[in-house]
Symmetry: C2
Subunit: 345 residues, 2 copies
Amino acid sequence: MAESNHLSHDWDLPAGEALLQDVFGIVMDELVRKGTDASEKSHYSLQKGAAFLGMGTDSIRLVKADERGKMIPEDLEKQINQAEAEGAVPLFVNATAGTTVLGAFDPLEAIAEVCQQHGLWLHVDAAWGGSVLLSQTHRHLLDGIKRADSVSWNPHKLLATGLQCSALLLRDTSNLLKECHGAQATYLFQQDKFYDVSLDTGDKVIQCGRRVDCLKLWLMWKAVGGSVLEQRVDWAFTLTRYLVEKIKLRKGFELVMEPEYVNVCFWYVPPSLRGQQDSADYCKKLAKVAPVLKERMVKKGSMMVGYQPHRTLPNFFRLILGNPALRTADLDFFLDELEQLGQDL
Amino acid sequence: MAESNHLSHDWDLPAGEALLQDVFGIVMDELVRKGTDASEKSHYSLQKGAAFLGMGTDSIRLVKADERGKMIPEDLEKQINQAEAEGAVPLFVNATAGTTVLGAFDPLEAIAEVCQQHGLWLHVDAAWGGSVLLSQTHRHLLDGIKRADSVSWNPHKLLATGLQCSALLLRDTSNLLKECHGAQATYLFQQDKFYDVSLDTGDKVIQCGRRVDCLKLWLMWKAVGGSVLEQRVDWAFTLTRYLVEKIKLRKGFELVMEPEYVNVCFWYVPPSLRGQQDSADYCKKLAKVAPVLKERMVKKGSMMVGYQPHRTLPNFFRLILGNPALRTADLDFFLDELEQLGQDL
């Protein structure tokens, strides 16, 4: 990243995952992205963006993902060819580095290759996974990101910079956002100031009245340094391994899959459902467990953890180990507490 | 307002003046708004919104304003008729309650009348002026706002709620934003929660990762009460009158016009330019005064005040008296300081 992309002045763009950022200033009539109903989806912000921009959600082509939620580059190629055969003009590909549920990283090198062959803008939605670049140990997950034309990144996720803090990194050096969004309101963006007015970023962004969100990241980075941020990222991976091994050993807990990132997806299977995997209504019954446990933990005030269904899989918990203050004892508590809350189910 | 509009759940929308809010979910091919190059303009966010939504800025029709920056309802009527004659379908009128530079309030009753006759959505951009509704003394400036279909309001302006805090008030009770923006991402907006999921506002707004900005307003309101907020608004008007009278009495200061709101627009005329109003390059020279004074005050660190040109008027200062901690002594200091900084010009 560092050598081939520069950090745009615009990186304190409005937060919102990759919503508004994905489509900044690109005249388009077709979007290409990953995810189908039968596979891991990219962030829903792409749908909203296409709707909001008046292009309609039909302009988004879905690309198949494998069983781990990673985009299949061969299917991307196929979708592009098909779109072109239909007379559409594909304009950009949205790859995801760290999907929301499974934490999957798309194969960026292979996707970049396809984009290069077809002359397509490659955007990497690294809102969730981008912080991994700070870790020498784990940054390989993002191999190929240096070939992206644009990258979105939310330091407010894994780095825990206070909400909101979203970055848009652009390879472009032509002041693209100014060209696209500049309105030259003379009453706000005076050109006769005594300093370099190119430092004024206000006219490049979509919103007018907004906070300087990048300051939070800058202050944090200055305060603790890159090595501490790296340690925090690595610690999240370490905790993930710890929790995964505990889950494997523990009766009544079942992993959805081995995590690639720090999303630990698993079911708590209560006593009454254990050994019933082959019964007809097992999935239906299992789907009701997570909501009940969530209600109980919230009412008790002991924990918070998200759950969701995925493809045909019934509701499962998704624990995100991003808080650097977490210790292994907290994870033991977490598992014990789930078991206690669900022992009568 | 209170009796005829409800405070939508969506009022913690992304900040950004009225940018994204003006055009929420309205299928449109023509916008009608106030402002021309020869008159007070509405907020530049409308231009940006039309560009961003892919409609193009040509879809915005400009309506003439009078010399005080207020929309002329007769010209609005004329523009609507003209648009219809050209086969366009006018969809909404944007009126402004408190323009940025002059602080002008459009005649909302008369505009609402035109909108009603033509079946047009009336949006009132009260980003800057909306807080005046809290004052029994001054709320008449917004007479007619209860007829609006939508109102945007930035408590982070006159009420000084921390940036960002923007409200969108809708007359609609059909859950319009949900209809327009809901993406039903199953991994985020679970429907099987144990509480009333209609309280979840996340799926109604444009952004995903965003702060709960309305909490700041709620806390402030709870903490100090409506009467204190009213006093603050009234105090801003009181200070405005104080400053205006001082400016009138003071040599070298000239009002642009009597303020209607708390925007005090004036020139500082340095000694060398006094009495030179009839010279050919007077305006050109006067235009250079404000930037020089701004540079000097910033470098000295004594004050901050904005300036801008307006129509054919050269750069003038615009002091906004919105800080409730201001006292008349601060305003005396302000005028003294300007005079001192500019005495050699």
